[in-house]
Structures are given as structure tokens and as C-alpha cells.
């Protein structure tokens, strides 16, 4: 949990109480039993904060009541306030009455579950799919809870503040093997090549037109060798991929609501790592690389949800450590 900055200012709900006679009063009179915390936004909209379990009813009655007629759900999104949880936001507008309102509600940060409003507004179908994949909010009763913008088998939530921008993208649990595999070391010729003197490197940069026939022959041989090596490596990697192919991600069966985090991690990852270690031709005089750490197997989601989450967290931790080590190695220290 790398917090970029603490939302100190957000402890107090921004804005102030709307003037009397605003749409907040209409809402209160239509639904007297719901508690509305009203505030004005900077855009002069009325923002109403309501309890989580009242969302569906407030939206439904707001749409059907003739004093509100909120027939256009123009926007739906969420805000991650880290320790304070998530805030789900609905922007509503009434085209006949020309009035706008913002409905908000607080959710817990983990395991947030909201009732879907896709049965009220067809627009919420896609909006909730986006919200679900970006924030990890589960919508009960959504007709088609698949990922929309992200890959179908990815189960990270990029717009959460716990998801920093760059480094984690490499270690999504999908590609942990990348850091654990032992690939053949780079060619010795490249290591021994004197890279410090420009004069020594000059012949390599000679133009093909200027080469003698012998040099061309040599160059062709080098190229052929490089191509052969690349092909060999590609074959090895393909074999690994085939051995450790992740299960195909498809639409989840309905009725299993709220569904657990979708299965995405490759099931046969350790097997692939072993295959990689055994099939890769390791022959070098450098100090041997540390053995790959043992990755925990991820149990099936329906059998053992807690164990699954723990295993995933463990894999991510290992992946991060390896990534850090890898970066340090690449930097050269």
C-alpha cells in the first residue's frame, strides 16, 4: 500500500449545505426515510450522500417520481479514498425538468458489494462493468459481469490507489515466471567484446558495401548463428508457454453472486518453471544464478478462497522481490 499522499482534506465532506428549495429538499420529501447528506459541489450541483443499501431504491424512485424524473444516468464512477473506503458516485439528470443531482455512497475498501442499477438504466451495464474492473466493486444482479476495457482474464483493479503506476504492471501475477525463469546467458562474445574503445568497435559498424568478401562471409555466418540461437530460444519459450498456458477466461456463470475474484493465475506455473530450468541449455562459467524460489500453487477459488487469496498475495510478494532484484541487476549495482 504505497500512499502517494494522504487525503487529509477529504476527511470533511467538501462543500456546504445547499440553499433551501434545492433538489435536496425534493429528494427528502419524496423519500423521507432515507438520510440524505446534502452538499454543494464546486460545479453548483447538489451532491447527496446516502446509505449504501438505499442506492437502488433512491435511483428507482428518483427515476419514477414525477417531481424528480431523473431519467438520464449520465455518469457513474467511483473514487478510492484509501483508508476511508470507496465512494461510488452517480450523476443523474432529468431531461424534462432540467435538474441535475449527484448521488454518492460510501463503500468499504475491500469486498465492496453494491446492488446493480442496470435494470433501471441500460447505461449502467457498461458503466458498472468498467467500475467493477477498475475498482473491484462487485455489482449484485449485473447481467454480464465481465471485464470491459481490460483483458478478460485480468483481475487487478488499476484505478485503486494501491495500484501505483509503473512497476507493478510487470508483476500482475500473470507473468511472475518471467522473473523466475533461467534463460541461457548472453553470448560470451558479447561480454568479451571490448566496448570501451571506439576503435575496436568500429569494424563492426563497417558498412556492408565496404566489406571485403571474407568479412561478408564472416558476417553472414555470425548472423546465421544468431538466428539459430534465437530460434532455439523461441522454441524453448514456446514449449514453456504451452506447458503453462493459463485457463481460458470466459464469462462466469450467472447465479454465483457475489463471485470471488476471477481466476487468472496460470495453474501450471511451477511446472513451466521446471521445464524451463531443465530444457534451457545452461553452460557458462559465471557464478550460477540463485535457484528460483518456490511459487505457491494457487488453489481453486471455489474450494479454498482464503488459501487462494493468500497464495496470490504470496506470489505477488515474490514477484516484487524478484522484480526489485532484477531492476537492481539491470542498473548494474
Amino acid at each position: 500500500m504505497t500512499s502517494r499522499r494522504t487525503p487529509v482534506a477529504a476527511e470533511e465532506p467538501p462543500g456546504n449545505e445547499p440553499p433551501p428549495g434545492s433538489i435536496a429538499d425534493t429528494y427528502r420529501e419524496v423519500m423521507p426515510l432515507v438520510s440524505f447528506d446534502a452538499a454543494m459541489t464546486k460545479g453548483d450541483d447538489v451532491a447527496l450522500t446516502i446509505p449504501l443499501d438505499a442506492i437502488h431504491e433512491v435511483l428507482e424512485r428518483g427515476r419514477d417520481d414525477e417531481r424528480l424524473q431523473m431519467n438520464l444516468l449520465r455518469n457513474q464512477t467511483a473514487v478510492d479514498w484509501e483508508d476511508r473506503g470507496l465512494e461510488i458516485v452517480y450523476h443523474l439528470y432529468s431531461i424534462p425538468l432540467r435538474q441535475a443531482v449527484t448521488i454518492k455512497s460510501w463503500l468499504p475498501g475491500e469486498g465492496a458489494v453494491v446492488e446493480s442499477v442496470a435494470d433501471l438504466y441500460a447505461m449502467a451495464d457498461w458503466a458498472e462493468r468498467e467500475c467493477r474492473e477498475m475498482f473491484g466493486i462487485e455489482f449484485i444482479g449485473h447481467p454480464d459481469p465481465r471485464n470491459l476495457l481490460l483483458d478478460e482474464d485480468i483481475d487487478i483493479h488499476p484505478l485503486r490507489k494501491s495500484h501505483p503506476l509503473a512497476p507493478i504492471e510487470m508483476e500482475q501475477g500473470v507473468d511472475v515466471e518471467f522473473f523466475t525463469k533461467q534463460y541461457p546467458p548472453p553470448e560470451p562474445a558479447e561480454e568479451e567484446a571490448p566496448a570501451d574503445t571506439a576503435a575496436a568497435a568500429a569494424p563492426e559498424r563497417k558498412r556492408v558495401e565496404d566489406m571485403t568478401e571474407e568479412e561478408r562471409e564472416q558476417r553472414r555466418a555470425e548472423q546465421a548463428e544468431r538466428v539459430a540461437r534465437a530460434r532455439e530460444l523461441a522454441a524453448v519459450r514456446r514449449a514453456e508457454r504451452l506447458a503453462g498456458a493459463p485457463p481460458a477466461g470466459g464469462p462466469r456463470p450467472e447465479g454465483a453472486a457475489p463471485p470471488p475474484p476471477p481466476a487468472a493465475a496460470p495453474a501450471a506455473a511451477p511446472a513451466a518453471a521446471e521445464a524451463a530450468a531443465s530444457s534451457a541449455p545452461v553452460q557458462d562459467d559465471r557464478p550460477p544464478a540463485p535457484p528460483p524460489p518456490e511459487l505457491p500453487t494457487i488453489p481453486d477459488a471455489e474450494e479454498d478462497p482464503e488459501g487462494r487469496a493468500a497464495a496470490q498475495a504470496e506470489r505477488v510478494r515474490i514477484g516484487r522481490e524478484l522484480a526489485a532484484a532484477r531492476r537492481a541487476q539491470l542498473r548494474g549495482d
Binding site: 499522499r5 478510492d80 431531461i95 484505478l159
Partner: protein
């Protein structure tokens, strides 16, 4: 979906053929590499011969995490990103963003800058609709004629933009508080000249397409949506107006200085592809009207940025949902400030995203060719859909 045959008889169901043998439905991929998808959009159609039985749209090929990126840049730094969402109407998108930041930070904009912004945004609306006419003409089957005719006019507007801000697509000319620099000296004269040419161009497109029998046959009663359906799907912009709802944010929730001009909102009757085309055509003419008035009213001299601007923008904590009428519909920026120099949350409400979500009911039980036309009539920009 209502089908209409060539003679005009209305069938409520697709043509049912008595078969003596079993046939299987075929899945066919339209996209992500397909000439009709205007970018990287994929839709898997289940077709029974030529009749579409089911459609599953897939988006996200262009998802670049723009909201996340904007949260990690300061308020001014994320502006250039707005050019990259709706790249056909970049001025409009930029305008929403800078307006959101200005309202959030409480910055007043000089009047002249507001006029120039409005003029450029309306020009951009015309440009975007020209692009629609060309691409839609190609979808319907014009072999490039509509495309080249509209691009000829689009080039003129782009030349004007280039003279103003030095770029033809990614303008990055608006700034929080005003504009980057003064437009060139002959801006008003050039704009009038471009408008004259554009009016001729609109007439050309009108003559080429509107009354062409084949064009009418392909567009009438295709992809029709009622007003209620359209509103439920969050459809906005010309598509909603084609369904008969005179909803235009420039009038319904007026922003900027649109209350100083007189113009009309075109509204369709049937909500089909043809109405969408007609509404856009008329909107271009109305934009020309607005532009003529704005160019006449615009102060010829004056500041284009406030006298004092803070070096670092740190708006008070608060939130704003700024929405404006883009060529494709309601473009909104939901921005939450936490008092630091970076926005805590930026959400882009893209009109194409929601307009595109209404595609599925439009194409089911139509012909394969109609699916392409209905998709074209939505006028999607995939960069904006995926953000």
C-alpha cells in the same frame, strides 16, 4: 427492430425463409482490423446468412489508462492528454478539462479568451461532423467521394487551426485560465473566409448524399431507437436529438457564453440512421450561424489570460462534474481535488462509450450491412471510448 423492404412495407420480424435443410449460424468477426470499425473495435456477429442474430461488442484495445495518468500529473500537465481522447474534437475536450480546473480553482477567464475558445470549439464541431460525413459515406458505400469532398473542407479548418496554434490534430492550445498565446493577426478574416468555404462544402455534401435514393434506402429506418431507449442507454448528442429529444447542453445547462447567440437545435423524428445524418448536417449549419455571431461580437483586443495566475495550482478540496456538448455528445470531466497539486480523481465521461453501448439492440435482427451502417452512424472515436 423494424425492417422495411424496398417497397416500403414494414415487417416487424426479419424475413423468415422456410428451409428444407438444417443450417448453422456463423460467427463473424467485424474487427479489430476491419475497414468499417473506425479504429480498433471488435464486434462478434452471429449471422444466419445475412441476418444478424446476436452481437457482442468488445472494446478496450485502445485503453491507455488516461484517468490514472491524469491522477499522477498535475492539473496543467494532464491537459495534453485530452487531445488524445477525442482526437477529432480535441478543442472541445480540452475546453471541458480547462473549464473543470478553472471552476474547481475558482479562476476567472477573460472574455476574449472565452470567445476564442468558443470559436475554435465550434469550428472543431464542424470539422468533426465533416469527418463523420466522410467516414459514414464510406460505410454506406461511396467509393471515396464523400470522404474526399468532406476532407477538402476539413483541411481548410485544419489550416486555420494550424495558423492559430501550430498543430493540426493535437492542438494543446487552451490553458488553465486562458490561451497559450494570441491567435495570429488575421484570425477573424481567415475565419470568415473559411466559413464561406465551409458553407459551400456543406451544400456539396447535402447535394451528394441527402436525396440520393440509394443513400435513403440504406439509411431510413435502420437502427431506429425511441427516445426512451436512447435515454436509458445514456445516449447523448446528435444521436439523442435524432430520436426526438431536444437535449443540448449548450441550452439545457448553459456554460460559457452560449446564451449570447441565437440558433436552433435540430431534432429528428424517427431516431434512425438517416435522422442522425440529417441532424448532424443541420448542426453544422447552426454552428456556422453561431460562429458568424461570435466572430462579430468578439472583442478585437484584450487580455487572453488572467493577470495573476498561481505558479502551482492547488484548488481547495472539492469536486466538480463539468460537462459540455461535444460533437459526439456529453463529454464530462468528474474531478475531485484533495488540496494538493494533483487531482485525486479524474473521470472522463465519454459520449461515445455510452452511445456505443446502445449498438447491440440496434443491430440485432438487421442485415449485416445494416450493422455496419448503424455502427458508422454512432460516429465513434475509439480513443475516446477506451480512454
Amino acid at each position: 427492430m423494424v425492417q422495411q423492404t424496398f417497397e416500403g412495407e414494414v415487417l416487424t420480424e426479419p424475413v423468415v425463409v422456410e428451409r428444407e435443410f438444417e443450417t448453422v449460424d456463423m460467427n463473424i468477426n467485424i474487427g479489430p482490423q476491419h475497414p468499417a470499425t473506425h479504429g480498433v473495435f471488435r464486434m462478434v456477429l452471429t449471422v444466419d446468412g445475412e441476418i444478424v442474430k446476436d452481437a457482442i461488442p468488445y472494446i478496450g484495445y485502445m485503453h491507455r489508462g488516461g484517468e490514472k495518468l491524469s491522477e499522477n500529473l498535475d492539473y496543467r500537465g494532464a491537459l495534453g492528454y485530452q487531445d488524445r481522447t477525442d482526437y477529432l474534437a480535441a478543442f472541445n475536450s480540452e475546453w471541458v478539462y480547462v473549464n473543470a480546473v478553472e471552476r474547481l480553482a475558482g479562476i476567472e477567464i477573460p472574455e476574449r479568451a472565452e470567445y476564442i475558445r468558443l470559436i475554435l470549439a465550434e469550428f472543431n464541431r464542424i470539422l468533426s461532423h465533416f469527418m463523420f460525413m466522410g467516414a459514414f459515406g464510406t460505410d454506406v458505400g461511396y467509393f471515396g467521394t464523400a470522404f474526399t469532398w468532406t476532407f477538402k473542407e476539413r483541411e481548410r479548418i485544419q489550416d486555420l487551426f494550424e495558423a492559430v496554434c501550430g498543430d493540426r490534430i493535437m492542438y494543446n492550445y487552451f490553458r488553465v485560465g486562458g490561451l497559450a498565446w494570441e491567435p495570429h493577426e488575421t484570425f477573424i478574416e481567415d475565419s470568415h473566409w473559411v466559413l464561406d468555404q465551409v458553407e459551400i462544402g456543406i451544400g456539396d455534401v447535402d447535394e451528394l448524399m441527402t436525396n440520393n435514393e440509394v443513400f435513403v434506402a440504406r439509411c431510413r429506418d435502420i437502427g431506429a431507437m425511441t427516445a426512451d431507449e436512447a435515454i436509458a442507454y445514456g445516449v447523448t448528442g446528435p444521436m439523442l436529438r435524432a430520436s426526438g429529444v431536444p437535449f443540448d447542453l449548450r441550452v439545457d445547462e448553459p456554460y460559457s457564453i452560449y446564451d449570447r447567440f441565437h440558433w436552433e437545435i435540430p431534432v429528428g423524428e424517427r431516431g434512425d440512421v438517416y435522422d442522425r445524418y440529417l441532424v448532424r448536417l443541420e448542426e453544422m449549419r447552426q454552428s456556422v450561424t453561431i460562429l458568424r455571431q461570435a466572430l462579430d461580437q468578439m472583442p478585437t483586443s484584450g487580455p487572453i489570460e488572467p493577470e495573476r495566475m498561481p505558479a502551482r495550482l492547488r484548488p481547495e478540496p472539492g469536486e466538480i462534474y463539468m460537462r459540455q456538448e461535444n460533437p459526439r455528445g456529453e463529454y464530462g470531466i468528474y474531478m475531485v481535488s484533495d488540496g494538493t497539486d494533483k487531482p485525486w480523481r479524474v473521470k472522463m465521461r465519454s459520449p461515445c462509450f455510452h452511445n456505443l453501448s446502445s449498438l447491440k439492440p440496434q443491430v440485432i435482427n438487421t442485415y449485416l450491412a445494416d450493422a455496419v451502417v448503424a455502427l458508422g452512424s454512432i460516429d465513434i472515436v475509439l480513443c475516446e471510448v477506451d480512454r
